[in-house]
């Protein structure tokens, strides 16, 4: 049984006046049916571009994407429409991801119509059922997006994604714009839906505490590359890549008996345009040695299911 999603050496480059921008570079991973891959990283790491490339809102420059064993990297036309019935996306900004002029029940009805699976007469009922599923009050179903708060708008976005009946949903920072207490509500919803419908997720976020809860495995990205990938619980217990260590150490903890000791990173993010071949993190890495900036880093399996892209991983972690 092939995994649901298999990504091999996926790259996405953009041509910009200054050269070639490596937004996503040689990324590989697999996602099993009904499981969640968390993708974490800070601004500029390419996680959003990765998500959009998987759902073909962008087209990959190189590499392959396999859905249930089938190559969907460059499909078009009707094949692409089929793919979209299986692979969907929930966006980050609840304010700009809904058409301000459509009532929310129309927004949800549209994908149902596009899927071509249901006769006209059934559309309203199915839209209603979806809104029940995501928890939108009956009295609000005729509203315009601007009449609802962020949390409810995200539920609409989730219902819209579910309407196509997907097996896999890219969740692009779905709770980052929401208040803390609402975040928990929406995360629970996503997890419930996964249990009920067996849908797999790629959960993109910069918030490590959120990703821990919802993911089965986690991928840490830096400047377009995956630097570490392992089962989610293991990342917090045994993190091996220097960037992951720095990232985790920087999270302000609510434990007042444990003052933060962030690992200081030198300098700023380097440019993703025409990057040099070596490790992209080396200019800022506290463990960098001479060879780091010359040797291209490869993801190596350092422990069971635990992959790290660092040439000094064993020395650093003893």
């Amino acid at each position: 049984m092939p995994p649901l999603i298999e990504v091999k050496n996926l790259s996405k480059y953009f041509t910009v006046p200054a050269g070639l921008l490596h937004a996503v570079d040689h990324v590989s991973f697999t996602i099993e049916k009904g499981k969640t891959l968390g993708v974490v990283g800070e601004s500029g790491c390419g996680k959003s571009t990765l998500g959009r490339t998987l759902i073909r809102l962008q087209e990959a420059t190189d590499g392959t994407i396999l859905l249930n064993g089938e190559d969907i990297t460059h499909v078009n036309g009707n094949k692409l429409r089929d793919v979209r019935n299986k692979v969907q996306i929930v966006f980050q900004d609840p304010y700009s991801s809904l058409n301000p002029r459509l009532r929310i029940d129309d927004t949800i009805r549209e994908p149902l119509k596009n899927s071509g699976r249901y006769p006209r007469s059934e559309l309203k009922g199915r839209a209603s059922a979806l809104m029940d599923l995501v928890g939108i009050d009956v009295r609000l179903r005729q509203s315009y997006p601007h009449e609802l708060d962020g949390g409810r708008r995200q539920r609409v976005g989730i219902a819209r994604a579910l309407a196509m009946g997907p097996e896999f949903i890219v969740c692009d920072e779905p709770v980052s714009s929401l208040d803390v207490s609402i975040q928990a509500q929406v995360l629970n919803l996503l997890m419930d839906l996964q249990d009920q419908m067996g849908v797999a997720y790629m959960f993109v976020t910069h918030d490590l505490s959120v990703v821990r809860h919802i993911s089965d495995q986690i991928c840490v990205m830096y400047l377009g590359e995956v630097v570490e990938r392992c089962p989610s619980k293991e990342l917090f217990v045994s993190n091996l890549h220097p960037y992951t260590k720095a990232l985790l150490s920087a999270i302000p903890s609510v434990d007042i008996n444990q003052p933060m000791q962030p690992i200081a990173l030198k300098g700023e993010l380097t440019s993703p345009i025409n990057p040099k071949p070596g490790c992209r993190f080396s200019p800022r890495c506290p463990y960098a040695r001479g060879g780091c900036s010359e040797q291209p880093q490869r993801l190596e399996e350092v422990a069971t299911h635990h992959y790290v892209a660092c040439c000094r991983v064993r020395e650093i972690n003893g």
């Binding site: 969907q88 991801s97 459509l102 009532r103």
Partner: protein
């Protein structure tokens, strides 16, 4: 033990959804006093012209040869011209042409402009470049001159004048819509529409356009005034609508040579044109304020 109530209902009172967004916009427009005045005036003028057969004391081409060039009197409210035709009646009937010209040409120009501009804005790349360069060429010729040119090529008469005036407005509409689209293009709901398998055309017309077209309504409204003025100018110089059609500009043109002796022949048409343009601009202003994004949401 005190009874504890486990309350888990929504704290926020549920608001019932409002009616259509369009209605809301119209309501907001009419809040401004200027828009109220403008709308009333404009509606009165339109109604007067529509009901011309009921209001006008004479037919527009009826000649009263006993009262040629007569000054305004109880018999002829706005005087008569050299052929004894009642000016008031001619203005009322003429308004039908002028208003029709104004509204049709303005709408037509805007619609074509919007469609062209949408393709340019949404598809970008070469499509955009080709279209926008064509629009640049079109708008490099000053508006009135362009009208004159097209009118001279197409010939005189009502429909040709509508065409000439519409074409002049296309470039502006296209450029405006393209600018609006460039701003809106990066919004996620458009990507979302693509992700749920909406066709490119459906995204353009069902999702993108409704969200950018509102400011164009302002242009269309103000455009009516401008077109009426331009039509008048065309007639004035001998193009556009021709006598005996009592279009307002034609009336102005006819009265031109008698400005010293019979000033009322040019004063009344001029006044009516001015008031109409004024009313239309008031409504346009009110609409623009109503559409101000700061007030929406």
């Amino acid at each position: 033990m005190t009874t504890t109530q486990s309350v888990h209902t929504e704290a926020r009172p549920i608001k019932v959804a409002k009616s259509s967004l369009l209605l809301e916009t119209l309501q907001r427009t009419l809040k401004s006093p200027g828009a109220k005045v403008g709308t009333v005036l404009f509606v009165l003028i339109v109604l007067a012209c529509v009901f011309a057969p009921l209001i006008a004391p004479y037919k527009p081409n009826d000649m009263d040869l006993t009262h040629m060039y007569s000054a305004p009197s109880s018999l002829h409210l706005m005087g008569t011209d050299g052929l004894g035709r009642d000016q008031f009646s001619r203005l009322l009937y003429g308004g039908r042409y002028s208003l029709a010209l104004g509204i049709t040409a303005s709408l037509f120009g805007a619609i074509v402009g919007v469609i062209i501009g949408s393709f340019a804005g949404y598809f970008g790349g070469r499509t955009e470049t080709v279209i926008m360069r064509l629009m640049d060429i079109l708008s490099s010729i000053p508006g009135l001159l362009l009208c004159i040119l097209i009118s001279a090529v197409l010939g005189k008469g009502f429909f040709n004048t509508v065409l000439a005036l519409a074409i002049a407005g296309v470039a502006e509409g296209a450029r405006y819509i393209r600018a609006q689209i460039l701003k809106e293009r990066s919004k996620e709901y458009l990507e979302a529409a693509e992700a749920i398998n909406c066709s490119k055309l459906s995204i353009m017309f069902r999702h993108l356009l409704p969200n950018v077209v509102q400011p164009v309504l302002v242009n269309v409204t103000m455009g009516i005034g401008m077109v009426i003025g331009m039509a008048a100018m065309l007639s004035y110089i001998g193009l556009g609508v021709q006598p005996p059609t009592p279009e307002w500009g034609a009336l102005l043109a006819a009265g031109r040579s008698h400005i010293l002796n019979y000033p009322y022949l040019i004063a009344f048409p001029g006044l009516v044109i001015a008031v109409t343009i004024f009313a239309v601009n008031l409504v346009g202003d009110g609409l623009r304020d109503a559409l101000d994004p700061r007030l929406i949401s």
